[in-house]
């Protein structure tokens, strides 16, 4: 099992979710975060106060997948989150030691296998 962590532009989230669902990747967590990936900062002015915003709004997507799902998941995100400009984000693939599904107590492979459609055999 792997944990795929992707940091993408908030306005690309819709595209990414669509691509993931098309790739039949279900079950994910997202969070609004702020980050900096080398893109140009923008300047904002509030009355006499001018500030450079070094952090940009991003969305972090976390997906626990079984090994053979890593490739389709990553490809879906790569193709949908890209604009070609600096600031498109990153994808990290991390090893996962243990996974539990809280509702049933299932572990590992069966815990990251979606229930619908019919579970794939492990």
């Amino acid at each position: 099992m792997k944990l795929v962590v992707a940091v993408v532009r908030p306005d690309k989230l819709g595209d990414v979710l669509e691509a993931l669902f098309r790739a039949e990747v279900r079950g994910l967590t997202i969070g609004r975060i702020q980050g900096h990936g080398g893109e140009t900062e923008h300047v904002e002015t509030y009355r006499g106060t001018t500030v450079r915003m070094e952090l940009s709004e991003k969305v972090r997507i976390e997906i626990g997948v079984s090994d053979h799902f890593v490739e389709p998941t990553v490809r879906a995100i790569l193709s949908s989150a890209r604009t070609g400009e600096v600031g498109d984000g990153k994808i990290f693939v991390l090893p996962v030691e243990k996974v539990y599904r809280i509702r049933t107590g299932e572990e590992d492979q069966s815990a990251v296998t979606p229930l619908f459609p019919a579970p794939e055999e492990t």
Partner: protein, 436 residues
């Protein structure tokens, strides 16, 4: 000879002017709540900036084109830059007050258009467009109906601006939405209102201000004002109730955005009729007006027409229904200059329809030409990148909901080095702290 200026009329019109002015920031809240958070300031600024740009254009040129003596098609140029507009009587109120009151109408009419092009128009292009539009489109149309122009000679009834304000703005909005094209995310992603309470706040303030809009259009503290006031209360009540029932029938839930919309639709519809129909007729009018707008909204959302905040459905359909029903329900016994169809004057309905068509045709053609012109000076749309980033940051360099983490204070190089260091440090901390 005593002055024809009447104190009571003047007092009421002073208040009405302030009430109508409030409608423009109210519209900013109404629209601002309906867009995504990254475009909230941009959308609200489209109303706020109209206060300045359209208001000034009105004083310099618009007022003269609308109300100075001229032909049937436009006022003259004799009152450019308010020449000769003093405290002498215009009707029973000081001329400057009449000018100011009418100016608040020009401002909100131009601002109404912004709902159709929200979340994608370059702000500079928008400012040029609405400023020119208020002079080239709004002022002549106001002259046709209220300044002694040909529509008033034909006998068209438009008490407070169903055609001049709402149909006029909605047609311009329709043309602008078509010419600008849809937002890049339109019909691809769910684009949801980011702050429905703002929209409700805006609707409430609009209703409040609309008492000045409609009852003030009597231009005095008189029975016509009282009737318009009561009808401005009654018509939206009926629209709101009918809308609620339609919502219940369709989704089994009463939506807040629907309620806010219903209030505006009812207000729009009663605008042309306010001082010309009985209170019972106003209720009927408000109830009927809910239907075309309600189903118009549903239909529009399934099309490629990205009239983002439904200016056409709310103001175009509402204004048209109101203007036509005025031709049906107007009554001499309630102060209308002529009766409507139901009271023995079938011609009135045709005159109303004619006025709507003439205004719609002119507004469509002139708005199209102006947008082409503006596009030649400044592109109408922001880049895709800026649209994705949000127009608050890309057009205004501000955010509505700024968090402030990662904001580095840029201290001006020009600051004297002798500036006490603790002060500068404190300012940095204060700036970061106040936004966290």
């Amino acid at each position: 000879m005593s002055s024809p200026i009447n104190g009571a009329d003047t007092a009421w019109m002073l208040i009405s002017t302030a009430l109508v002015l409030l409608m423009t920031p109210a519209l900013g809240f109404f629209y601002g709540g309906l867009v995504r958070g990254k475009n909230a300031l941009n959308t609200m600024m489209m109303s706020v900036s109209a206060l300045g740009f359209v208001g000034l254009a009105w004083a310099l040129v618009g007022y003269s084109l609308a109300f100075a003596p001229g032909s049937g098609f436009a006022g003259g140029l004799s009152q450019i830059a308010l020449a000769g507009v003093g405290v002498e009587a215009q009707g029973s109120i000081p001329h400057v007050l009449f000018m100011a009151y009418q100016g608040t109408f020009a401002i909100i009419t131009a601002a109404l258009i912004s709902g159709a092009i929200a979340e994608r128009m370059r702000f500079s292009a928008y400012l040029i467009f609405i400023t020119l539009w208020s002079v080239v489109v709004y002022a002549p149309v106001a002259h046709w109906v209220w300044g002694g122009g040909f529509l008033s000679s034909m006998g068209a009834l438009d008490f407070a601006g169903g055609t001049v304000v709402h149909v006029n703005a909605a047609v311009a909005a329709l043309v602008a939405a078509i010419m600008m094209g849809a937002r890049k995310d339109y019909a691809r992603q769910a684009i949801l209102p980011h702050n429905v309470p703002f929209t409700l706040l805006g609707a409430g303030l609009l209703w409040f201000g609309w008492f000045g809009f409609n009852a003030g259009s009597a231009l005095g503290a008189n029975t016509g004002a009282a009737l318009a006031f009561a009808n401005t209360l009654l018509a939206p009540t009926a629209t709101l109730v009918v809308w609620t029932l339609l919502d219940l029938r369709r989704t089994k839930k009463v939506t807040a955005v629907g309620a806010a919309t219903a209030i505006v639709v009812g207000l729009v519809a009663v605008t042309p009729a306010a001082g010309l129909v009985s209170p019972a007729s106003a209720i009927v009018l408000g109830a009927i007006a809910a239907l075309p707008s309600y189903f118009g909204l549903l239909w529009r959302a399934r099309t490629r027409l990205d009239d983002s905040l439904d200016v056409v459905a709310a103001h175009g359909l509402g204004g048209t229904v109101g203007a036509l029903l005025t031709g049906l329900l107007a009554e001499k016994s309630w102060g209308s200059p002529t009766d409507g169809l139901l009271f023995g004057n079938p011609r009135q309905l045709g005159i109303q329809a004619m006025a709507i068509l003439v205004v719609a045709a002119y507004s469509a053609g002139a708005s199209w030409a102006l947008l082409r012109l503006v596009n030649a000076i400044a592109p109408l749309r922001v880049s895709k990148r800026d649209e994705g980033l949000g127009l608050d940051v890309s057009q205004h360099g501000e955010e509505a909901y700024v968090r402030g983490e990662g904001a580095l204070l840029i201290l001006r190089d020009a600051l004297p080095t002798a500036a006490p260091a603790p002060l500068a440090a404190a300012a940095t901390v204060g700036a970061a702290g106040s936004r966290s």
